[in-house]
């Protein structure tokens, strides 16, 4: 991820952008924990709420890949395809875990 380019695109300083991305990773990790229990309890409404939150944050920061994952979580849950939802959540989690490499 080219932080300089992305921060420029959003009109933010690079260090500001980094700060926000770190915050995103933190809050998303905790959101994903709640998402997991929501999936286990088959609580569609709660899944939708968390997905909504993830979508918002990803969109704010121009993190398109995460945005698409969040959208997929939302759609598969509302279609009742909870297995797919769990898969998308897993990928999201992996991506987050690997973000430390950037």
């Amino acid at each position: 991820m080219n932080f300089k380019k992305m921060s420029e695109k959003l009109g933010l300083e690079e260090d500001e952008y980094l700060e926000l991305v770190e915050l995103f990773i933190e809050t998303s990790k905790s959101d994903l924990k709640n998402l997991q229990s929501a999936i286990n309890n088959k609580n569609i409404e709660m899944i939708a709420g968390i997905a909504h939150s993830l979508k918002g944050a990803a969109m704010n920061l121009g993190l398109d890949y995460f945005l698409e994952l969040a959208k997929s979580i939302e759609k598969t849950a509302s279609d009742g395809e909870l297995e797919e939802t769990a898969k998308a959540a897993e990928i999201f989690q992996e991506r987050l875990d690997n973000s430390g490499d950037f």
Binding site: G11, L20, T27, G56
Partner: protein, 506 residues
């Protein structure tokens, strides 16, 4: 330099907005939800509030309405940041907001926000761009539309049921109230939200409710109390339900107004009690009558023998007089205990009054109350169930007695009750009016409308049922009469009982 409050449940939004606005030299306050925002607003008046719509605890829409209902926040610009701007057709102006910015990528959003803030500087009125800024770069999202439809469906249900539903935050503040709850509690929604739930009740009930709330928290199950609590002069049953599977752990409270049920129950209980007392009294009375006759009889016999003009003659007369008194009391008790399913019959108010006074006179005089009675002899008859009217008079006199005993000792003058009867015309109909005037503590203006309400009492808890006047009111109404009050707090109370004159008079 402006003071800006940002309310959003996502930390990223809060951070972004703080950075953006502080860089431009503004002072930024943040709140993660409506409840915390209201706390901040208690001690801070910002120039601008940015609020998210979708938040836990108090939603953005509710927050806007509450802000707009507070006069001290009249000049505050309210700008909504909405992630559901495109899906939700509701006009944000209905909430009282001044503008709406759709959430999206930070660059565009940042631009819109800064543009609006500049706009505020140049045009210091509420003439803001009425359309939603940023909407053009978003598209309707099917999922969100479905979510909104489902939400509206539930809201429609909650808005129409007769039970009150409250949602409490973990700190026991009210974060949602449906229309039925607002109506039961009698406090407008804007003031009700963020109030602590237990504060809605009388002091002596608050502890009990706190205990119930503790139990539901520990045991994580629904909790209810077998007796209703008083709220806004109604009898309300509470069901407290913890909500699981939710990161915020709110509490649901269901309010059921059972006042009319309780009223009917109370009337039935009262009627049964009266009947029981009546039966007992009748039994005792009949038993006593025999010995009384005996006493009077034997005294008369002694009188007839040559005891005239001796001191003993005087004593015998006194014995007869006292025995007569007992007979009178027994007669009153029998009148009181007669069958309540009686038809109304012709009676004279003077008789009813004197039998009433017979029962209560001594107690009043014992407490230093002077009694004066002014009843003409030739008043027309009324058609009534005499013992019920007696009950009404007893109730009024008991209340007067209580009021007089509450009088502060420094007040000069004696305590008195004045009873007057006369004919009174109201709207072409003639009534016998009985007026009870006492110079007791009077009735405060603010409760005058409540005194005939069932369970309403100014006596300390445990004393009296609060039912006396409501039952009296019922009885007078059943007789097509009227119960009227005139009073000045601290000076006097005047109670007037109007009873229709028996039409068949020669």
């Amino acid at each position: 330099m402006k003071k800006i409050l940002v309310v959003d449940n996502h930390p990223i939004m809060l951070k972004f907005m703080s950075n953006l606005l502080e860089k431009k030299g503004h002072q930024v306050l943040t709140a993660p939800d409506g409840l915390s925002a209201l706390d901040i607003l208690k001690t801070n008046i910002p120039d601008v509030i940015f609020a998210d719509l979708v938040m836990p605890n108090i939603s953005g829409e509710k927050l806007c309405r509450i802000v707009r209902s507070k006069p001290e926040l009249k000049e505050v610009f309210l700008i909504i940041l909405s992630a559901i701007a495109v899906e939700d057709e509701t006009n944000i102006l209905d909430y009282g907001a001044d503008a709406c910015i759709a959430k999206g990528p930070f660059d565009k959003m940042g631009d819109h926000i800064l543009t609006i803030l500049e706009h505020l500087d140049t045009v210091r009125t509420h003439e803001m761009p009425k359309e939603i800024l940023g909407r053009e770069s978003l598209y309707g999202r099917q999922i969100t539309q479905e979510l909104l439809a489902s939400k509206n469906h539930f809201e429609a249900t909650l808005n129409n049921i007769s039970e009150g539903i409250l949602e409490l935050s973990e700190e026991l503040k009210i974060i949602y109230a449906n229309p039925a709850a607002v109506s039961i509690i009698g406090i407008p929604e804007e003031t009700l939200l963020s109030k602590v739930f237990t504060k809605l009740f009388l002091n002596n009930h608050q502890k009990k409710i706190e205990d119930l709330l503790k139990i539901q928290k520990e045991k994580q199950r629904m909790v209810t109390h077998d007796a209703p609590f008083e709220m806004n002069n109604k009898q309300v049953m509470l069901n407290i339900i913890p909500i699981k599977n939710n990161e915020h752990k709110p509490i649901l409270v269901i309010l059921k107004n059972i006042t009319s049920q309780k009223q009917i129950e109370a009337q039935l209980q009262h009627a049964q009690r009266m009947e029981a007392i009546g039966t007992l009294a009748a039994g005792v009375a009949h038993e006593i009558n025999n010995p009384i006759s005996g006493i009077i009889g034997y005294a008369e016999i002694l009188k007839d023998s040559d005891q005239k003009q001796t001191p003993d003659y005087d004593i015998l007369n006194r014995i007869i007089k006292e025995a007569d008194r007992i007979a009178e009391i027994v007669k009153n008790l029998l009148t009181f205990s007669r069958d309540r399913h009686e038809e109304k019959s012709s009676a004279n108010i003077k008789d009813i009054l004197s039998s009433t006074l017979g029962l209560i006179e001594k107690r009043l005089i014992k407490d230093g109350i002077q009694l004066s009675v002014d009843v003409p002899d030739a008043l027309p008859d009324i058609k009534v169930r005499s013992h019920e009217i007696q009950q009404v008079f007893l109730n009024i006199l008991n209340n007067a007695h209580y009021g007089l005993n509450q009088r502060p000792l420094e007040l000069s003058g004696d305590k008195f009750i004045n009873i007057k009867c006369g004919i009174n015309e109201v709207e072409g109909r003639n009534f016998i009016r009985t007026t009870f005037y006492d110079n007791g503590t009077g009735i405060p203006k603010n409760i005058l409308n409540n005194i005939c309400d069932p369970f309403f009492s100014t006596k300390p808890p445990g004393k009296g049922t609060g039912l006396g006047l409501s039952i009296s009111h019922g009885i007078v109404n059943n007789h097509k009469g009227k119960l009227l009050f005139e009073t000045v707090e601290g000076k006097f109370t005047k109670v007037m009982v109007n009873l229709p004159i028996h039409a068949v008079q020669s």
